[in-house]
Symmetry: C2
Subunit: 402 residues, 2 copies
């Protein structure tokens, strides 16, 4: 598997990704535009400040060199070659949720996490739940440019999907949370989102009698289990169940040559050969690295507002200005609008913008159509979730503060 | 079954209620405080303007006379008598949803209705769905005094539960919608609630490609099925499935003497003998009649704000001032806060207020506890709903207008 290291600190690969050091884990990174690729089997580690800036632009040049030009356009053996090439860069979504380190997913904890995920009383107003912005019926997002939060405030960035988020290397567009557990605490207490003061979260839940038993079952070894930390743990194990296996592309990766149409295969070939897969690779077809938005050509301010400097706001490192986590493209056909601004409603426009801004290439309308068709093959089986019955509010329950 | 006619026009009984004209359907109504009860087997019809004002107050005096004092406190035969008395006034929730006249519930229509019920794109902001205020995980309500709607506006009255609403004689606190189908159109276009301009609703849904097939399947005989009227029909057949059978009280009504505890039985006896069941009767333990709030003693302005004159705003009939639909008490333990203002969080307080304001009696704390225990036995099996996958927004979908 060819992986391209970004300029930002990396973390150990997900347990669902190939281990470093095997023949499939050669990492390719770039120190500078002028220097060309450095190929190394060493574990991924921070690179020079220009690395992330150049990876996407060079991807367009490098990836085609790894494969035979036009191989996806011919039938027979070239089809097998396309599948083999894809298998080197992508992995299928597994059938079962992955385990979370240090956070065992017992049935009681998953059940509690589901309740909390749907419970609007985690918000100050009692009107906004995790599912409000990460709607499991809408591909794990809210079909808004940016979400509406507490007192009708708009969030700063487009809500990322919760589906398959467990496979991302970090959470939020700027990666400021290392995993689902860390992420889950963010929106609950964010004044623009759910708006619950941090000490209030546990107080609120303690005031709902039905949660006492639910937390006791989920955290049987603790004497006072209703804490924000345990809320985050429970939500994380539930969210880890929100995976979407068996997309046509997964079936293709697993060996079914007929799982993709000819157009989708042509789109897959373009996706790899034009350089998209330089960043959008792995199990989540993205989600594994950071990259600056506008490597070659800066998109307009509607797509890249100057005041949101992305990961720079986390790391304060100059090279991280306008760097964002490369989003997963899993279920992308379900999650319009696109980009961290949510300013692009048309998947074809988004593909075209990425070609120009990240790869410095003009994709023809036919190429865009084929790539969009391939992206449609990333829609997997959506999670089947039975709506949880939530424990009722009673006289002693802290009341909503809308 | 003893029924008390209110002062407002009545409609034919629900198909799930006993037919008029049988020995069990004697209707008791009151023309005036000074005249005492009039017992008649005739179908319910509008009465004089004071009828509704007096029915609740007199209920407290009349109901005990129909039964032997203290019968519920003694075991054996008196237990059978209690069950028999209850059976005359209440009916169990059926296992299966009732049919809706003129709106056949096909699987395709129910499935569409479920999608629409959960789809926030029926609102102008794309952030508020039917389920936002009638949350099926929260007893069919939102655990708010009044709901938060479009642009964080507060609704005028507490959101009534959707659970078992199909058995109510009309919808909304003031009964201004004759059935679920009529109700479903209200909040979608209400500027304070979901805020979609009426012509926009169908336009919005037509802009979501996946709905074309869903509506075509649900309304196979129509050439242009995506209409607000059909939205209402589909939502209504889904909502009709949201019933909660097999509450302990239902099992008791069906003949299991052990389905209620001794305390719950004592509460049931009080509920009938003190007069509560004068209005709160039938399949929904309410929902079948209108009554003024504050028959004997006006509650304070927090519970009965002077500017909300209830059904008067629908009928413009002076006798309907401060008249409201008697709410169902089904699943009442799940649906705090209470009253049309949502100003009472404590079920015991609500019971106490009703005793004083409607019946002119002081219920002791022990009596309140017993009645509240009985009300807890009205919590039935909650609907098991698999969260629907909603068709995605695309480039041509009308965008949210938050």
């Amino acid at each position: 598997m060819a992986r391209f290291a970004a300029a930002v600190p990396t973390e150990p690969p997900s347990r669902k990704r190939p281990k470093a050091g095997t023949s499939a884990s050669v990492s390719i990174s770039f120190q500078n535009c002028a220097h060309g690729p450095e190929i190394a089997a060493a574990p991924l580690r921070p690179r020079g400040r220009l690395g992330a800036v150049t990876v996407l632009a060079l991807g367009a040049l490098v990836i085609p060199a790894l494969t035979s030009p036009g191989q996806a356009q011919t039938p027979g053996k070239s089809q097998d070659t396309l599948m083999e090439q894809a298998r080197q860069q992508f992995q299928p979504i597994p059938e079962n949720p992955p385990a979370l380190p240090g956070n065992t997913a017992t049935p009681a904890k998953v059940a509690l996490g589901k309740m909390l995920y749907f419970d609007p009383r985690l918000s100050a107003s009692h009107a906004i739940s995790c599912n409000s912005c990460h709607n499991i019926g809408l591909g794990g997002v809210d079909a808004e440019p940016t979400s509406l939060g507490h007192r009708w405030q708009h969030g700063g960035r487009n809500a990322p999907t919760v589906l398959n988020a467990v496979f991302d290397k970090s959470q939020f567009w700027d990666g400021r949370a290392k995993d689902l557990e860390a992420q889950a605490g963010g929106p609950i207490v964010n004044p623009v989102e759910m708006g619950s003061p941090e000490p209030h979260v546990a107080e609120q839940l303690r005031g709902i009698p039905g949660y006492h038993e639910a937390f006791a079952k989920a955290f049987p070894d603790e004497t006072d289990p209703i804490t924000l930390a345990n809320v985050q743990k429970a939500i994380a194990v539930f969210e880890a169940t929100l995976i979407t296996p068996n997309a046509p592309f997964d079936r293709y990766l697993k060996g079914d040559p007929n799982a993709l149409s000819a157009t989708e295969k042509a789109g897959l070939a373009l996706f790899m050969n034009k350089g998209c897969a330089a960043c959008h690779n792995g199990i989540n077809v993205g989600g594994a690295t950071y990259a600056p938005f506008g490597v070659v050509t800066k998109p307009g301010a509607s797509l890249l507002p100057p005041d949101d400097k992305g990961r720079f706001m986390v790391t304060k490192t100059p090279g991280d200005e306008y760097v964002f986590k490369v989003p997963s493209l899993r279920n992308i056909a379900l999650t319009a609008p696109y980009f961290h601004t949510g300013a692009a409603w048309d998947l074809r426009v988004a593909v075209s913008v990425m070609g120009a801004s990240q790869l410095g290439i003009h994709l023809t309308p036919e190429e865009v159509d084929k790539i969009a068709a391939f992206l449609g093959s990333l829609t997997g089986e959506q999670p089947q979730v039975t709506y949880p019955m939530l424990p009722p509010s009673v006289a002693s329950t802290p009341q909503p503060q809308p």
